[in-house]
């Protein structure tokens, strides 16, 4: 269709005409360390999620040990997924994309000067700090020192470490943007700048008002809901979308048309993202306008999602290209997951529906699809594309990559479908006064059993990814040894 169609695997020509090798070399180590740690936490989080879901069918499993009870393992798993995996992978993705899209090696010059070295050291130190915070925060929950605030369970000192670490990394991404040599900003760069500015604000505010210096209880619910909505829609999702906006045109060898649509989608996403979580409070002790605004935002959120999807999916012309690129497939699946979660979210935010399904697995299905689908899948896509470029060679095992892709999709699809259906049944049964609670638990039992299977598939998928990247990096190490680097 287009004369500009680039042959696959010639991504280089799509990037700004700068020395992408030098840029990759300048960010290689920090980004690989971020990715490596992220995947390691993904495996741990998947394992904990499996244990948590087993506890739903066999409450006695690992029972009797206080630090292995559901109330501690569930937030540990969720926080590891959010901060250990998704946020860390997003940081890595952000740094790499920003450096590439801005045409700037880290630290200026060719990236190998003293400035570049200092910056790399700083970012690596910050990464160590980040992982230390995640580790200590997780152990604190394990030991019973959770704050009890959903998604902010890490004690105040751990969240302060996380915030500091983020600032130390994020500021370079924003400074890179300031010094870009590529002229007009790409769509992906808008999203990255927004995300890197948004996380410190959202995370800092939420921690300040809920953990460090808690304000009056009546205001805590809305702030917490705002935080949950914002963390997903204004930090993690923008990075996932930046990956798609940056990589899809190059992978598909096509152009992004309708930039005005991208602009509109971007601003509407920012406008509605923060309000998106408020529908969690329907019927709660908050002023009516807050929940109503949440309902409206939940439904209108579909508009930017459709705009973004039309934008990105409009580039798909040749199925063969999609089929041939694991990265491309992950990115597109992420988009489909995003649209699905948008539709589910819009339906679930309507007060009548919400009243029936809110306190069931339905809500959890939405969250899982957000984190594991709309956010993680594009991040996987970016990972599969970036690592070969960073290492300068084809490092992935195609077999393992394919298995990872299939298992992730099957596991996620199964998990979300089961939770949606199970939640719906539970919700309807709960609303029926003639059904006893014990009966409802037995209705949902088969769903929980199958959810365990889904979680097991996801754990295997995470392990395969872990093996894949270990082989990739070990291969690099062996290669370096051989060439005497």
């Amino acid at each position: 269709m287009s004369d500009h169609t680039l042959p696959h695997h010639q991504h280089e020509s799509g990037y700004p005409p700068v020395d992408s090798k030098a840029i990759d070399a300048s960010v290689r180590l920090p980004v690989i360390i971020l990715f490596g740690n992220a995947i390691h936490w993904l495996v741990v989080a998947a394992l904990l999620s499996l244990v948590v879901s087993i506890k739903l069918i066999a409450p006695g499993f690992l029972g009797g040990i206080s630090f292995l009870n559901y109330g501690r393992l569930a937030p540990m798993a969720r926080d590891l997924m959010l901060y250990g995996w998704a946020s860390q992978a997003a940081l890595g993705a952000g740094v790499w994309l920003m450096a590439r899209l801005c045409g700037q090696p880290l630290g200026g010059g060719d990236g190998q000067g003293i400035g570049g070295m200092l910056l790399r050291t700083l970012i690596i130190s910050a990464t160590v700090l980040w992982n230390l915070a995640v580790l200590l925060g997780t152990l604190a929950i394990f030991a019973g020192y959770s704050t009890g605030v959903e998604w902010l369970e890490y004690p105040g000192w751990a969240s302060a470490m996380l915030l500091l670490s983020f600032l130390l990394i994020g500021i370079w991404a924003v400074l890179l943007f300031d010094r870009r040599s590529t002229g007009r900003a790409e769509v992906a760069q808008w999203y990255l700048v927004a995300a890197f500015c948004w996380f410190p604000w959202v995370y800092g505010t939420a921690n300040l008002l809920l953990v460090w210096k808690p304000i009056q209880a009546s205001a805590q619910g809305p702030i917490q809901s705002w935080y949950c909505g914002s963390l997903l829609a204004l930090w993690l999702l923008p990075v996932a979308l930046a990956s798609a906006y940056a990589l899809l045109p190059r992978l598909l060898g096509n152009h992004l048309n309708r930039r005005h649509l991208a602009t509109l989608g971007f601003w509407m996403l920012l406008l509605l993202g923060g309000w998106n979580g408020m529908d969690r409070l329907i019927g709660g002790p908050v002023p009516a306008w807050m929940t109503s605004a949440g309902v409206v935002a939940g439904v209108l959120f579909l508009i930017p999602l459709f705009m973004i999807s039309i934008n990105l999916l409009g580039m798909v012309r040749k199925r063969a290209i999609v089929a041939g690129s694991i990265s491309c497939r992950f990115l597109l699946m992420g988009l489909y997951a995003l649209i699905t979660v948008g539709v589910i979210g819009a339906i679930a935010s309507l007060p009548d529906v919400s009243g029936a399904v809110r306190f069931t697995a339905f809500t959890e299905a939405k969250t899982q699809l957000w984190i594991l689908g709309a956010i993680s899948l594009p991040l996987f896509g970016l990972l599969y594309e970036s690592l070969p470029q960073l290492l300068g060679r084809d490092c992935w095992s195609p077999v393992l990559s394919g298995r990872h892709y299939i298992l992730t999709l099957v596991g996620l699809g199964m998990l979300v479908t089961l939770m949606l259906l199970g939640g719906l049944f539970t919700g309807l049964a709960l609303a029926d006064p003639t059904v006893s609670f014990l009966n409802i638990t037995s209705y949902s039992y088969p769903f929980h059993v199958m959810e365990c299977v889904a979680q097991l598939l996801l754990l295997i998928a995470a392990l395969i990814l872990g093996a894949n990247i270990t082989i990739a990096l070990a291969g690099d190490y062996l290669l370096n040894k051989k060439t005497g680097k």
Partner: protein, 214 residues
């Protein structure tokens, strides 16, 4: 402005051919936005911090769904405790020789020569001099309560007619308003003689009001 090379064309140049969106899609977006506006307008409780029921108040502050009617006796009791209890006491028994009782009082229950209008009049404009209640003589003054609204006076009177074993029909705010209008020219508190000179307006229904026998 930019020191980029030819390749940048790919990023910033030809690709942004703007194809218009399908009008159906634009229409759907507009419809969704309109829905959002209407939904907020009718479910935001007027954006008030003290409204928790989403459909209790519309955005203009007016009631969309009717608020549950208030019980005049509950409001009346509160007003009674704020305004009347000092003299007539929480028991409604007054103080012997000084303040007449409300329990079984012919003034309150509109018995004998007394009517609803007399009760409202004396509350609105006050009472002074020598007067008889339940066969006891009193010589004191009750201050006018004109400053209270029709609604408040009606609530208080409805309350004192229903508590402590009193059982007389309620007084409506409209009736208070009517009497207030009729007696607007009165400048001084009434005496019993002045009150009695006016024809009694009896309660519309259920004449058989009787104080409880204890």
């Amino acid at each position: 402005m930019n020191h980029d090379h030819h390749n940048n064309q790919h990023e910033n140049g030809s690709e942004e051919t703007s194809r218009p969106l399908s009008p159906w899609l634009v229409g759907a977006f507009m419809l969704a936005l309109c829905w959002g506006g209407f939904y907020l307008a009718f479910n935001s409780g007027g954006f008030r911090q003290d409204v928790y029921e989403s459909n209790a108040v519309n955005w203009a502050g007016g009631g969309v769904a009717a608020a549950a009617p208030v019980d005049p006796k509950v409001v009346g009791k509160r007003l009674y405790n704020q305004n009347c209890v000092v003299c007539h006491q929480a028991s409604g028994m007054g103080v012997a020789g000084q303040f007449p009782p409300l329990v079984g009082s012919e003034y309150v229950l509109a018995e004998g020569n007394m009517g609803d209008n007399h009760l409202v009049m004396l509350v609105l404009n006050g009472l002074q001099g020598h007067f008889m209640v339940k066969g006891q003589a009193y010589n004191n003054a009750m201050v006018p309560w004109k400053q209270l609204s029709d609604e408040q006076i009606a609530d208080i009177l409805t309350y004192i007619r229903s508590d402590w074993g009193n059982n007389a029909p309620p007084i409506t705010p409209d009736f208070v308003a009517q009497i207030r209008k009729e007696t607007a020219s009165a400048t001084d508190s009434y005496t019993q003689e002045q009150l009695m000179a006016m024809p009694a307006m009896k309660p519309a229904a259920s004449q058989g009001s009787a104080p409880a026998k204890k």
